[in-house]
Symmetry: C2
Subunit: 587 residues, 2 copies
């Protein structure tokens, strides 16, 4: 190691340190030779300091300094000096000083990097991931990861000071059938047997409540064997918490307080509490989805009851076969060309819509190629109902509820972005509440849990659990930020009888239930308290707080489909010898 | 949920709260009926409060209270009252008060638990793990886990306030050949390919240093596919840190400060800094191992140079064939019977020792069945060298160095416990330093890294790296507490050339090195700073701080060989359907 001992960072020196002797260590950000005097910008995590090697005062070091190239790692010792008049750099925190070096030590050289270590570069994600160690050197990425660190720190401080206990749950867990997206882990020591990686610590945290821990939290890694997307990694981290003797309000309050703390301490702006709440049914009706972006309006309106009085066959047939006709008002888009509208039709076709009916709103009323099928009073009713004025464009989808919702939900977001209706600086939080407990899966021909099978029904709905399962409301809540679901939670079932009734409705008989969730069912028999909790995806939230679309911008070593980050590439070929030892063969 | 709203915990109420109305929620710890008045001890995480149901003042609740049994979960509302004279319980923090209940709500009933929820119970570990949710309800286990929580909190606060950044490293990593104890994780999405679970984030944290993060820490899960033991879980958690521009002293100081913080804030007693340091060679010589328990003496002495003047064939032959004779003085054990000594001989035979020679020290000198082979002046020299006095017992092992060291190291610890030489309350920390960089593996017929291949040799030893590899010292350090290695670390190699030279000495040619560690080798080419770090096993440390031998006492959901904790049992049979989807078949 060096004889030199680092005295400060490259972000630290100011005018008041002038004349003191310092040792800095870091990377050469740039080198300039002005008539034999070498100027380097020296960089570390904390900033950049200008270092000067003058042949008149430090000949030997200056000679060595001629070797310096970008990304060399060095130590310098020197005296802090005020920069000469006219050379102060107001963009740099250390811009009023420079260090006149008289010692230089080169720790390591660097080959020419494949891309410059600067922000806002145009380098492809693939190249950035291939050289992640260089990409992470960019101050942008350092800022992201330090921001993430501070968010985690704030989360932990928040829970620590409120009586929550941080308890680690296992990563190698018992595999259960039905874990369709579980990663399985064969064991060498126990040949022929496997562990499973958890999709969430749900059962563990419920057991901790049965154990009387009262308030649990964890920032925890979870796993899901699914295709990669920009917003999804096969391993992801969630803020996980659970509380005993609480109801929905308690959980919501704790989480709102947490978000407020993150805004105050890390984001540096306030957030308005409480967050608004939106009923699930209302969200589906007005936004076509359960994670609406409320930074802009353009609500979806049901016009089925109006257009059924028209003569437009497409609408009538849809309504008569149990479908619906809903519409959005693209305000101010009345000037859209036929081509524009064709593009929108193409866009909604991705979501199953077979067409996109439209009316332009003119001073005289609604105009379209299909106007002739609509009596004037119906056109008027539509215009009124859609709150449309001249210059607007009304867009209709007629289909089964699911297709209409999905098509219009995406169309709404698409138009919101296209027409700059969204304030990118706004953070819009909303709780979605009163979810149904079950939905009916047409493919499987059975009820499935909208959240998970441990979610408690509302007590007033328990009497008709078996008779009208689709009307039973769950004690569940999702938190949505800017149209992205951060996560959700619920009050859990703490009665073993109700848990069994819910399992039966889900087509899981008592035997199967015991096979799969016996540990929990047993635990519920021995005095389970009322309890509930929530899990929030931390990287999604952090990406949104930093106004980033891709969570790989906030993860040090993410996975990519293209297998370019060599340390974490999408799974690689296994060594045959290792497979043999594990007793596995791969198809 | 209840109409009642919890106002305080069961550990909170004191005389000053008398007459206030409170709502408590928790578990029925015990029920007593005194002539129709029902007394219950109500328990939650924070403590126990006595609750009284009196038929004269709260008839309805009292009637319901007759149903209460141990571990029922309830809410009560009532008024705090001072306990009548003579009924104060000084053992209970709330022992001066009781709550006169007038409302009772039963949240959940409980079957009779398979064991009582009390501390110091005799229940087998198997039963405790089977009903872990009940076992964790015991205040002992809650104390352990809350202690662990506080240690983690202290660790994070310590690093947070010292400029360390908490960065998450992947759990699903690239598999590399030679990861003999790696768990492999086949991917469903990428058929035929696998991830590996990391044995440590070593490469990732080094890359983070290359990226300029300067100071990194993480409390991180690691994985090793090995047999279970009381001290070892297949997944374990370590305190992991790495710093740039530092030497050994910097790392050691940071860790000593961390331990001091844990003692001050969690253990509640001071610890003496700095910890002593022991050279590896000295530790091996005096204690036969590199993780010595220094809470007692009984150092091992080499007597080869003395006994080679004797006529005792066993010793002479051993020395002549390159072996050694070393001994310990079991002070005060001169009274040991033949049977006692036979037991010790049996004990050391586990470690390969073919015998255990001995001398009893009497006023007249050394006495043994083998005395006749030793001239009096040799006996005297032995006694002097061993610092032996009348009443002591000298025990000798003659064999190859490895057998002698292991036998005497274990014998020393065995006698330390047997003779109560160890103060169980003492926390004895020591750094072991100056490890060799390599050792020669007789089986593999090659050099292997004593720590790992990224450990830096001392700069003064680099010139003879290839000529005398076994004499090269590593810049490595281990931290040992009470004879248990908590972990270790090193200054790493930051020069790509030296890294390649070390790989070559380890029998890894440049191609193989690139195959296995290409990402690191590439990273080193682009300006790696000098850096080093350490990793410490957190559960081992916490178990020791709590004076526990079994780390399963400080882990909520541990693994056991006997597969009894149903949520974490040693890996279980896989579902054939899942295996099929994964494209795996198991031998």
């Amino acid at each position: 190691m060096s004889k030199l001992k680092r005295t400060c960072t490259c972000g630290q020196l100011r005018l008041k340190e002038v004349d003191s002797t310092v040792v800095l260590m870091g990377w050469v950000d740039s080198v300039r030779d002005h008539g034999g005097v070498i100027f380097i910008d020296l960089r570390d995590r904390e900033g950049i300091t200008q270092v000067v090697f003058n042949p008149d005062t430090a000949n030997k070091s200056c000679e060595l300094a001629h070797q310096l190239r970008s990304e060399y790692v060095i130590a310098i010792k020197g005296k802090v000096a005020a920069r000469p008049a006219g050379t102060v750099n107001p963009d740099l925190a250390t811009g009023e000083i420079e260090v006149l070096a008289d010692e230089l030590e080169i720790f390591n050289k660097s080959e020419t990097p494949p891309f410059e270590i600067i922000d806002n570069s145009n380098v492809s994600l693939e190249l950035r991931l291939k050289y992640r160690y260089l990409d992470l050197r960019r101050s942008e990425m350092q800022t992201h990861l330090i921001f993430r660190h501070k968010v985690c720190q704030t989360i932990r401080e928040y829970f620590n000071t409120r009586g929550f206990i941080d308890i680690e749950t296992p990563v190698l867990t018992k595999s259960t059938p039905e874990g369709a997206r579980d990663y399985l882990v064969p064991s060498r020591v126990n040949h022929g047997k496997v562990y499973a990686l958890p999709q969430s610590p749900q059962l563990f945290k419920q057991v901790l409540m049965v154990s009387g821990f009262d308030r649990y939290f964890q920032i925890v890694r979870c796993f899901r064997d699914e295709d990669l997307r920009a917003q999804r990694q096969p391993e992801f981290t969630q803020i996980d918490m659970e509380m005993s003797f609480v109801d929905e309000e308690d959980i919501i309050q704790v989480i709102e307080g947490l978000i407020a703390a993150i805004f105050e301490k890390v984001v540096g702006k306030p957030v308005n509490l409480p967050f608004p709440r939106l009923l699930y049914q209302e969200s589906m009706a007005s936004y076509g989805c359960d994670a609406p972006d409320l930074r802009f309006g353009m609500r979806i309106q049901d016009v089925s009851h109006i257009v059924k009085e028209s003569n437009f066959k497409v609408f009538l047939e849809t309504i008569n076969s149990g479908g619906q006709v809903r519409a959005i008002n693209a305000a101010g888009c009345g000037h859209y060309s036929r081509k524009d509208i064709d593009e929108l039709t193409e866009f909604v076709s991705q979501f199953g819509a077979r067409g996109l009916a439209w009316f332009k709103v003119e001073e005289t009323g609604l105009v379209s190629s299909i106007t002739k099928f609509f009596p004037p009073e119906i056109l008027q009713k539509i215009q009124q109902h859609m709150n449309a004025k001249a210059g607007d464009l009304l867009l209709f989808v007629a289909d089964k509820e699911k297709v209409v919702s999905q098509s219009l939900a995406h169309l709404r977001t698409h138009l919101g972005h296209k027409n700059n209706l969204i304030n990118a600086e706004e953070f819009n939080f909303v709780w979605i509440v009163d979810f149904p407990l079950f939905e009916y899966n047409e493919d499987a021909k059975r009820y499935v849990a909208l959240h998970h099978p441990f979610t408690s029904p509302r007590s007033e709905d328990i009497p008709f659990l078996e008779e009208k399962p689709l009307e039973v409301r769950a004690r569940a809540y999702d938190l949505v930020l800017n149209g992205v679901e951060l996560g959700g939670g619920s009050i859990r079932i703490h009665s073993p009888e109700i848990q069994k009734r819910v399992f039966r409705l889900l087509g899981i008989n008592d035997n199967d239930a015991y096979q799969k969730f016996g540990f929990l069912l047993d635990a519920l028999k021995f005095g389970a308290p009322p309890h509930g909790g929530i899990a929030l995806g931390i990287d999604r939230m952090i990406a949104l707080l930093l106004h980033l679309d891709d969570i790989r911008e906030v993860i040090a070593f993410p996975k990519t489909q293209k297998a370019t980050c060599p340390m974490t590439e999408a799974p690689s070929e296994a060594d045959p010898q290792q497979l043999k030892e594990l007793g596995i063969s791969l198809a």
